[in-house]
């Protein structure tokens, strides 16, 4: 056996020698970063940076073009009011997009919940607080249905929520008899439902309670995503589900919890919606799903999952709001507002691809 032993050891030694002589850098390039590369890295590390820059530039440009009419505290708080619904639903959409999913039914869940809240309180005379809770429960059940279709039946999120979007919207028309609940009836019997429409005046800025609730929700969800194990698991599930599973994360449970939470946030959005428009209309919010996706995408969240920040969505929603408001004040036709938002979406996704390509 001594000869084979020797053979083996020399083989190993040779292998070692060759490996040790090998250059550490198989392919090394001049490692001088151009300013563009450094900028790219910065954007990659801080996903909120790109939309923030766009927001600041937009505010700067519009204040030059339109002037003080635009930059007044009152006008800016108006923009905040206008983006409150989208911001709220955008929170739900961000959670889902972080898991590499998409939810087309968010708007329908919101409207269905608002109709349920209204009918419970006005037609059935339920205590307004209880009506609110029933509405939130409806949101949770709707989210549970979405989550179950995706985790149990393994439907792609796009298809599952395309289906439930229509189902929830039809249920909402059926349950409301396609009738609007008038603002007067609500303020007479259940003023609590409109409570979020109240405003407080801060240095000329009109802040609604609804906007404050939205900002508070952003902080709560930010905390959950960044400071709890659940949040880390949401990112891991969206980033690489196989690796997350191997690390012992029950990804199906995470997905289900995300869809249920999204449903609850949408139902809270329903409360904000009633406060904002005063009445309850089954026809409201039909494009909220797409608007929320717009805010999330402009906010720098990757549709491939696992990347993005919840505050990006707030900024994304504000960018859309600022552009619409600024263009309107500048006297530009509404169709050009749509045009601009479309361009913003394409640019945002283009920038996301560019950032991911070079540094990942």
């Amino acid at each position: 056996m001594s000869s084979t032993e020797q053979k083996n050891s020399t083989a190993v030694l040779d292998h070692d020698k060759v490996a040790d002589q090998a250059q550490v850098y198989v392919a090394s390039f001049e490692h001088k970063e151009t300013p563009v590369q450094r900028f790219k890295k910065f954007l990659h590390h801080y996903p909120v940076a790109a939309p923030s820059i766009v927001l600041l530039l937009a505010i700067f440009c519009f204040s030059l073009i339109v002037g003080s009419r635009f930059l007044s505290a009152f006008n800016l708080s108006l923009v905040l009011q206008q983006v409150t619904i989208i911001g709220m639903v955008g929170i739900a959409q961000t959670l889902i997009i972080l898991t590499a999913g998409i939810d087309l039914s968010v708007g329908a869940i919101m409207v269905l919940a608002s109709v349920v809240m209204g009918r419970m309180a006005i037609d059935y005379g339920l205590d307004p607080w209880l009506a609110l809770c029933v509405g939130i429960a409806v949101g949770a059940v709707a989210g549970f249905i979405n989550g179950s279709l995706i985790t149990r039946l393994k439907l792609p999120p796009f298809i599952a929520t395309l289906g439930t979007w229509n189902v929830f919207f039809a249920l909402n028309l059926w349950y409301s008899n396609s009738e609007t609940i008038r603002a007067q009836d609500i303020s007479n019997t259940a003023p609590l439902l409109q409570w979020l429409g109240n405003t407080i005046n801060v240095f000329g800025a009109q802040l609604t309670y609804g906007s404050l609730l939205m900002l508070a929700m952003f902080v709560v969800i930010w905390y959950a995503l960044n400071w709890t194990a659940w949040g880390r698991h949401v990112y891991a599930t969206g980033d690489d589900p196989a690796a997350a599973k191997l690390a012992g994360i029950r990804t199906d449970r995470i997905l289900l919890s995300v869809y249920i939470l999204a449903g609850i946030v949408c139902a809270l959005g329903a409360w904000v919606l009633i406060g904002r428009i005063g009445s309850i209309s089954p026809q409201a919010g039909y494009t909220t799903n797409l608007d929320s996706i717009t805010a999330v995408v402009i906010g720098g969240c990757s549709l491939f999952g696992g990347r993005g920040s919840i505050f990006g969505t707030l900024i994304g929603a504000l960018v859309v709001g600022i552009f619409r408001n600024g263009l309107a004040l500048a006297g530009v036709d509404v169709l050009w507002q749509e045009f601009t938002v479309g361009i913003l979406i394409i640019v945002a996704v283009g920038v996301d691809q560019w950032i991911r390509k070079g540094t990942a």
């Binding site: 550490v24 191997l246 690390a247 994360i249 540094t359």
Partner: protein, 264 residues
């Protein structure tokens, strides 16, 4: 490193059987892993090594036979249970989450929460404690040269990512670390680093099961080599007792050996 085969095996199987319909993936297989050793498992494709490994890591329930951990019969119904008993697995396909940072990845699924009400009610993560422990473990394994602990894993090379996976197993594995083709996805130099890392983990007292197709790697790091053929153990050899070509011959059935594993 010599293996003391008089000790109780830390992980052992007796007469393990697993059938899929008419196919017998594990056919009355015996297996022993002793404390402080690197045991390589080699075998041709379809020999049933992965089934054996899956049974040991809890990913598969055997039909017959028993698995003993520290001499005690155990029954895993999921990888989670095996892990809870201190059996960690490192996979070939770099099972780390690229967008999360090194510390997050090390503690993924086993996060540490802050003490007191912040942790119990608000579920707040103790990021500082996790970063510190991650740093300590990476330094201990000689991996701290390149990494900033809050760096996203996607900015690391393949070998460094596998380093993170090995560090994770060393951090939580209290009994056994199973490494399934840990160098398969890596280049020459990177493989070398991971092999050194494997020895480092062994020298810290954790026994390792190494599954590999790469004969030079197996012969370099293994203390003993378990050769699997037709669903069971064909032989146990050592790098000193047999040559690589003999190992291949046993693996493919060209050479019959009648050796007692205790004598190896």
């Amino acid at each position: 490193m010599t293996t003391n085969t008089n000790q109780t095996p830390i992980l052992q199987t007796k007469n393990l059987v697993k059938r899929y319909g008419s196919v017998t993936a594990i056919d009355h297989a015996d297996f022993e892993l002793y404390p402080g050793e690197i045991l390589a498992i080699i075998g041709d494709n379809g020999a049933g090594k992965s089934s054996l490994i899956k049974a040991l890591s809890g990913a598969l329930m055997p039909d017959e036979g028993e698995i003993l951990l520290d001499g005690q019969p155990v029954n895993f119904s999921s990888p989670m249970e095996a892990r809870a008993l201190g059996i960690e697995t490192v996979y070939q396909n770099l099972a780390v989450s690229p967008a999360l940072n090194i510390a997050d990845n090390l503690f993924l699924g086993r996060e540490i929460r802050k003490p007191g009400i912040l942790g119990s009610v608000f579920r707040m993560l103790d990021k500082k404690a996790m970063e510190q422990k991650a740093k300590d473990k990476m330094t201990e394994l000689g991996l701290m040269t390149i990494q900033n602990i809050s760096q996203a894993v996607e900015s690391l090379s393949g070998g460094q990512r596998q380093g993170v996976a090995v560090a994770r197993s060393a951090l939580f594995g209290t009994k056994v670390v199973i490494m399934d083709e840990p160098t398969a996805a890596l280049g020459v130099k990177e493989s070398r680093r991971v092999l050194n890392l494997i020895k480092e983990v062994r020298d810290r007292g954790l026994p390792i099961i190494l599954i590999s197709h790469n004969m030079p790697h197996v012969f370099e790091v293994a203390d003993r080599i378990h050769i699997h053929r037709l669903g069971k153990r064909a032989a146990v050899i050592t790098p000193q007792s047999h040559s690589m070509s003999e190992a291949v011959a046993i693996m493919t059935g060209a050479l019959e050996v009648n050796n007692d594993p205790q004598a190896a």
